[in-house]
C-alpha cells in the first residue's frame, strides 16, 4: 500500500547566509515511549491543535498551552486522523472497517 521509498540521495546544500534559527521558538514534546511509532500529524483548521497518531493510539495537543489535551490509547494502530471543518470533531481509523468519530467539547475559550 506504500510508495517505493524515496532513495536517500544525499542532498548537498550550500547553506550560506541562512536565517539565524537559534532564536526560533520551538517546543519539544516528549510524549512517546520507546517502540512508539508516529504515523502522522494532523493540524486543526485553526492551527491551534494537532493530532499526533501512531501505534500508540493518538493524542491531541494544544499549541496554545503546550500540553496534551486528550489521549486515546487503542488496541490497534491509528493510521490516520482528520478534523471536521469547524474543529469540533475528529475522525480516526484504527484496526477496524469503520471509522471512529469523536465529538470534542469546546467552550468559548476553545479549550477541550
Amino acid at each position: 500500500m506504500n510508495f517505493t521509498p524515496i532513495q536517500s540521495t544525499p542532498v548537498s546544500i550550500p547553506f550560506k547566509e541562512l536565517i539565524d534559527t537559534n532564536e526560533v521558538s520551538k517546543h519539544v514534546i516528549y510524549m512517546f515511549k520507546p517502540g512508539d511509532v508516529i504515523n502522522g500529524i494532523a493540524w486543526s483548521h485553526n492551527s491551534e491543535y494537532m493530532i499526533v497518531f501512531g501505534n500508540f493510539g493518538f493524542q491531541i495537543y494544544s499549541t496554545l498551552t503546550n500540553s496534551v489535551l486528550y489521549s486515546q490509547p487503542q488496541f490497534g494502530n491509528c493510521k490516520s486522523a482528520s478534523w471536521s471543518p469547524n474543529d469540533t470533531n475528529i475522525v480516526y481509523s484504527e484496526k477496524n472497517n469503520a471509522p471512529f468519530i469523536i465529538y470534542l467539547k469546546i467552550n468559548n475559550n476553545r479549550r477541550y
Binding site: I13, I38, S47, Y92, P99
Partner: protein
Amino acid sequence: MTCTSDIEQVVWSKDGQNIVCADDAGEICLFNVNGFNLVSRLQGDKRLIWEKLKLSPDGYHLAIAMNTNDKHIIDVWHTISTNRVSRLEISESEGVQFFNWLSDESLLIIDRNGSCSVWDINKNKAVDKFDCIPEALFRPIGNIVASGYNNVVQIWKFENRKWDPIAELQSHTDDVDTIAWSPNGMKLASSSVFGVVTIWDTSFLP
C-alpha cells in the same frame, strides 16, 4: 458505515458532510456523516489499488494515487459533489515516488528519477518540470518548502524554478520522519523516528 476491510486513511470533507475512508483492501468509500450511509466508492475500478490520499489546501479536492500494472494514476475527486474532476496518468518508467498539492489546482509529482513535474488538474497534464528536492512539502502560504534530511528540517524558498535554502531547523537527534505545516503556515510540526515531536514557530519566514 463500514468499509470492506480495515481503514488505513480517513479524510473529512470540506463541508463536513462526508468522510472518505481508504481501506487496506484497496477500496475507497465515501460516507455521509449524518446518516452513516455509504455515498459512493471512489475508484470505480477494482483493479485500481490506492496508495496515497492527499486533500487539497482548500479541502475541496482529494487526490488519490493508484497503480495498475503499467502505469500510475492520480485521480482527483471533488469531495462535495463526489465527481471525479481529473485523471493524471504517469508512465511506469517515470513512476511516482511522492506527490503533494502545489496549489488548489495543481499537483507536484516527484518521479523515480528525482524530477519534479507540476500537473494542472484542469488540463490533465504536466505543465512544468524541474529538478526537485525529496518530499518537498509546501507551506500553505507563499512559496516556502520544508523537507526532512537526516535529523534536520530544511527550509527552502522556491522561486524561478529553483530551490534556495534559507534555514535549517535543528533540534532532533534522530532522523526526521514526518513534517506538517499548520494551515496558517505559522507553525511547523516535525516528528522523528524515535517519537519526538517538535513544534516550530515559523512566523519568522518570509
